[in-house]
Symmetry: C2
Subunit: 206 residues, 2 copies
């Protein structure tokens, strides 16, 4: 969204593959990333043995803002599909902060936005039942995919989705089946067709 802010900054580009980590939780924070193409997931290692997916990243998202706080990244970010990312190093950013003080405001706004988004998501996840959350998740993914048709290719596994939504994989499976039975979507593996856009906002002809 606010990726434009960092246009003027010095940055390095790289093209990580599926499975690669941009960084892991606990690594020393040395900069943040702009995802230009591809997708990634953010994982937190909770107390104990099990991980929790706290979010997915899509093109134009900023990755690694969690690291400013105490100088180490607070989540692990793993690439889901071949991606292109810009990296803006901490030092370059700090230099730019002094050269262009108006960028501080932009960064503060960006962080505040992220804070609000997480807050709303958290509230939403606790109030709505699993089916509503799933449909909302799919709609958000759809919106992020620069839709050219009423279709969507999921970049992540069922296990990842279930983990993110806080439900069991089996439950997710049954929910997808339920949505299909209701005529809202069609799902073949990771290919999703939306069936409720017949007359509403979708602008394309497909």
């Amino acid at each position: 969204m606010h990726e434009g802010i960092f246009k003027q900054l010095k940055k390095s580009i790289s093209c990580p593959e599926k499975g690669d980590y941009l960084f892991k939780a606990g690594d020393t924070f040395d900069g943040f990333y702009v995802l230009c193409q591809g997708s990634a997931k953010a994982v937190c290692t909770q107390s104990g043995d099990n991980d929790k997916i706290v979010g997915f990243y899509h093109p134009n998202n900023i990755i690694g803002l969690c690291g400013f706080g105490n100088a180490t990244y607070q989540e692990s970010v793993q690439i889901l599909s071949y991606s292109r990312v810009f990296k803006i190093s901490k030092d370059d950013f700090n230099d730019a902060l002094h050269a262009m003080p108006e960028m501080a405001g932009e960064m503060i706004r960006l962080l505040s936005d992220n804070l609000v988004r997480r807050q709303h998501n958290s509230a939403f996840n606790m109030m709505q039942d699993a089916e509503v959350r799933l449909m909302s998740f799919l709609n958000e993914l759809y919106a992020c995919s620069r839709p050219r048709s009423n279709q969507l290719e999921l970049p992540m596994t069922r296990v990842d989705i279930a983990n993110y939504l806080g439900i069991a994989v089996e439950t997710l499976c049954r929910l997808i089946k339920g949505l299909t039975k209701k005529g809202l979507i069609e799902a073949h593996n990771r290919h999703i067709v939306f069936r409720h856009f017949d007359n509403s906002t979708s602008s394309n002809a497909a």
Copy 2:
């Protein structure tokens, strides 16, 4: 936590009473607050009719950071008990940002911290069952209360706690009963006595 950052800033003080609002969701953002004394709750009005408590504020917490994003506050903050708050206006803060560019870094760190905290809370709430969440909630309240004994006076109602934890009031009641039966706490109305601090610091907390 980072309240010290704003020591040098121009600020106005006020003493809101229980029930007062510092601001409501949708109000024009004109500054943020430092809670010096008392307590407050943050409420989000979700789509529909029902509200959701997304957090409680304790002394030294910063309130209103959610407003930087799109120039309006994104939550309503209501005072729970007689409080003292500093307000730092948006304009004063922006002036200070130009005068002391190092403050930008501090603010960015503060926001990043908040982001991480919300993220962890969100993950925690989705993974743990209600009893663990409640005990964790009580422990956090205890830690925020500058403990002088193993006791705690809850500033909020059962309804508020249940709403925040995402459970029914009746469930909360039964959980408290359960924790009491286990010998972890004693609860008389809003007065809580912790019974598990006898020998170890906290083996199962956190």
